[in-house]
């Protein structure tokens, strides 16, 4: 259900890594309560739009923005134009879609987290590299698989015209709602990225975009939550976090 699309931004002062007070924005938009549904093939478009919009606002290096028109919706969003970013986001979306395919009709959450890489003083024990997460965006959505209709005729030569009756009206209304919700979410993203700017790390020369990672539950929701908590509690230094 796209109605559960909430974009939460956790941000806080950079100094206190995990003792900071997360400042959470939770969007509960009224339009989202209409429970517009996201179909599998729409997920890519929706996620690509949202993730790229967020990254665009955090790619503070010299970029040449790229305007992308969504195919399913009447919305244009902006990419930062970096191929690595595009590839990373696309790969993650594909993994997510695959995961969705295995867990249909289930709520899921995809997280976009920005971090800073800090190298600690190398001791003679280990050479620790830690990640300081300074912003986290949570995108909740539910994808559903519409039930496939049995074929009307036996051979594909028979009348294949689908009944353009109520079904198409439902689809169009749902899609319109989804488009409105998506637009609203994008407005909210722009608002959030502007509200809090102090926590954004300074721009380093040559660095175009802030490093980020995209995560989603690979198993059930509960373990995903535990994973996130573990990560937050046991801060960097763990080699497994470097991926």
């Amino acid at each position: 259900m796209f109605s559960l699309l909430t974009v939460m931004a956790d941000s806080g002062p950079k100094k206190a890594q995990y003792e900071r007070d997360p400042y959470t924005h939770t969007v509960a938009h009224e339009a989202l309560e209409t429970k517009s549904e996201v179909e599998s093939f729409e997920i890519r478009e929706v996620l690509r739009c949202i993730l790229h919009t967020i990254v665009f606002h955090r790619a503070l290096g010299l970029i040449r923005p790229k305007d992308i028109d969504l195919e399913l919706f009447d919305i244009t969003y902006v990419q930062c134009g970096e191929i690595e970013v595009e590839k990373k986001i696309d790969d993650k979306i594909e993994q997510f879609v695959t995961w969705i395919g295995k867990h249909p009709n289930k709520k899921s959450q995809i997280c976009l987290t920005f971090y800073e890489v800090k190298t600690k003083q190398p001791s003679w024990f280990t050479n620790k590299i830690e990640r300081l997460y300074w912003e986290q965006w949570n995108i909740n959505l539910s994808a559903f698989q519409p039930p496939t209709k049995p074929p009307v005729g036996k051979s594909h030569h028979s009348k294949l015209v689908m009944d353009p009756g109520e079904e198409s009206e439902d689809i169009s209304s749902r899609r319109t709602l989804l488009e409105q919700s998506l637009q609203e979410v994008l407005f909210q993203i722009i608002k959030f990225v502007n509200e809090k700017k102090d926590h954004v790390p300074p721009i380093n020369d040559g660095v175009i975009y802030c490093p980020f990672e995209i995560t989603f539950p690979s198993s059930s929701d509960s373990t995903f939550g535990m994973d996130m908590l573990k990560r937050m509690l046991h801060s960097g230094g763990h080699p497994s976090m470097l991926s």
Partner: protein
């Protein structure tokens, strides 16, 4: 402008620089997305080069916009005091319903967007706690984020789509989008403000003041009926169903389905999927009513092209600062020279041209001098696309019925010819059949012919749309059987029955059948007469000939008549010499 004295002087200068560069950058972002004539060149340069070829001025705020048009520099030149606010009005010129006395449609101007950028200088300075040395870096970073938001917002608001629609429309439109830059705003009339929404960007603290940006916009532009008035250019159908490149058996949903009108090939998109993935309901089919249905006004799309301004629009943009220009600064639409290859909208099908066909046919003639077949006059082969489209199936049917034609071409392998030659034809044929659930619609131009054909009990059902290949196969088998009989005779020597000439003859036959008159009730008479065999006197041929003369010029008809007579005589003589009439199905 009094910057705080406790700031080191380089910081003062840098902060002031940030503010002073912020205004033109914001102006550039807004107008670039709204006014096509002010779009930057060099936006889509090679991205791999990164910032190598970027002007220093374009690198401000780490947002490469491309070369700033000179008009924008002039616009901003009057904005010398950073304390002056910059108000950018995006105005839509649209026709009104009122007509003046002379019947001309009046135009009205409506502000659909207002962008306000200003540097607010507070009366009381707030104490500065942050480290002054890094202050300008933080300020710069925040200004970058603000401009990113501004950029993204320009793409989200409704005026963006309108501007794209207007810029893509080739025909003269009574709609136009213009801008006005000023330093003070007219107070909105109450009815206007009610329909407008406001979005305020979070300000950026630039000591001693702060940079603010906001936009007031009309969220609903449907009142202007833009879709109904904008003529959209014809689209290039790259995946037309009749093309052999597409899957002829693909299912197309009915146009009633509500697929979103998707936008394709918009400027700047790399790696966009081709038009084949477009919603099928938008794709015009040749079998829909009218040969090429123009896109409905509600569809939103834009062809794949890049606008290039052919004229210097600078002369239009002279402002008498700080007031708005009197005339429309946007370039007249007629001066655009879009680099698009637009197929005329009414050309429905790419059919084998007569030139290519003739080439193919003539190449297969082993010895043209020996060929008694009627040489194709250009006129006979140059048929209108409509008749050709509607007749392929009928051509098949006729050839299967009339086992021989006066030309004797039936003896050969028309089926082979069809499959070999125009995979296009077969593709098209089957493509027509697999149209959206109404196969017969492909022959809607001649419904009467269909009915007359199907009533014939001997019909081997070439219009059995489930068995296209089977009909061709049946036809081929019949021709083969005829051929076997014919080859046994010495006819083969005089008739163009050689390997190559067979194909040529078949091609000629196909062409003749294609140009044959429509199957009406009269045609059944023709069929019956042809069925009786070649022994029929020339009267039958002339009777048939009268049919042909309807569709062609008299000279062509006469010429054909002579050729038919020759062939008929030849066949007669040969059949007599063989010693039996050939059975004809």
């Amino acid at each position: 402008m009094d910057f705080p004295e406790n700031l080191p002087s380089p910081d003062i200068g840098r902060l002031e620089q940030i503010v002073s560069h912020f205004f033109p950058k914001a102006l550039h972002i807004v107008l670039d997305s709204r006014i096509p004539s002010l779009q930057s060149r060099g936006r889509t340069r090679d991205r791999s080069s990164g910032g190598l070829n970027v002007k220093k001025s374009d690198k401000w705020f780490n947002l490469i916009m491309g070369d700033r048009p000179a008009a924008l520099d002039k616009l901003h030149s009057w904005h010398r005091n950073i304390l002056d606010s910059m108000i950018i009005d995006i105005i839509l010129i649209h026709p009104t319903d009122d007509d003046d006395d002379h019947g001309n449609v009046r135009s009205a101007e409506t502000v659909i967007e207002r962008w306000v950028v200003q540097y607010e200088n507070p009366l009381i300075m707030s104490p500065q706690t942050s480290d002054p040395s890094t202050r300008y870096q933080k300020v710069y970073k925040k200004a970058i984020i603000l401009l990113r938001s501004l950029y993204a917002q320009t793409r989200l608001l409704p005026a963006y789509r309108v501007s794209r629609q207007l810029s893509s429309s080739l025909a003269s439109s009574r709609y136009e989008m213009v801008y006005k830059v000023s330093s003070f705003s007219d107070v909105f009339s109450p009815p206007v403000t009610e329909t407008m929404k406001e979005f305020r960007f979070s300000p950026v603290e630039v000591p001693p003041g702060r940079l603010c940006a906001s936009v007031t916009y009309r969220s609903d532009l449907s009142d202007f009926n833009l879709g109904a008035h904008i003529t959209l250019p014809p689209r290039i159908i790259t995946d037309y169903v009749g093309s052999p490149a597409t899957d002829p058996m693909r299912f197309f949903p009915s146009p009633g389905q509500s697929f979103e009108a998707t936008s394709f090939h918009f400027q700047g998109r790399a790696g966009r999927p081709p038009l084949t993935t477009s919603s099928a309901s938008e794709r015009p089919h040749s079998w829909t009513s009218g040969f090429h249905r123009p896109p409905t006004p509600n569809q939103s799309f834009s062809p794949d092209f890049h606008w290039s301004r052919t004229d210097g629009g600078d002369s239009h943009h002279q402002l008498s600062p700080p007031f708005s220009p009197s005339g429309s600064p946007s370039t007249p639409r007629g001066s655009y020279s879009p680099r698009i290859n637009v197929r005329p909208g009414t050309a429905p099908v790419t059919i084998p041209s007569s030139a290519t066909f003739n080439r193919y046919v003539s190449s297969n003639f082993s010895e043209p001098s020996r060929n008694p077949l009627p040489p194709f006059s250009p006129k006979s082969t140059r048929r209108s696309p409509s008749s050709q489209d509607s007749l392929p199936g009928i051509a098949l049917y006729k050839s299967s019925r009339s086992g021989e034609s006066p030309s004797g071409l039936i003896n050969h392998y028309p089926g082979h010819k069809l499959t070999k030659d125009s995979k296009y034809d077969s593709g098209r044929f089957s493509g027509l059949l697999s149209s959206s659930g109404s196969p017969r619609f492909g022959f809607s131009r001649s419904p009467s012919r269909l009915s007359s054909d199907l009533e014939d009990p001997d019909c081997s059902c070439p219009f059995d749309f489930d068995d296209v290949d089977e009909s061709v196969l049946q036809y081929r088998l019949k021709c083969q059987s005829l051929d076997r009989r014919k080859t046994s005779s010495s006819i083969s020597q005089s008739l163009p029955i050689g390997r190559k000439s067979q194909d040529a003859a078949v091609g000629v036959l196909v062409q003749m059948l294609k140009t044959a008159p429509p199957l009406r009730q009269d045609s059944s008479t023709y069929m019956a007469s042809s069925m009786s065999g070649v022994q029929r006197e020339g009267s039958s041929v002339s009777g048939a000939e009268s049919e042909f003369s309807m569709a062609r010029s008299t000279s062509d008809a006469l010429e054909e008549l002579r050729n038919y007579k020759q062939l008929k005589d030849l066949l007669l003589s040969k059949s007599k010499s063989v010693g039996g009439a050939t059975r004809v199905h």
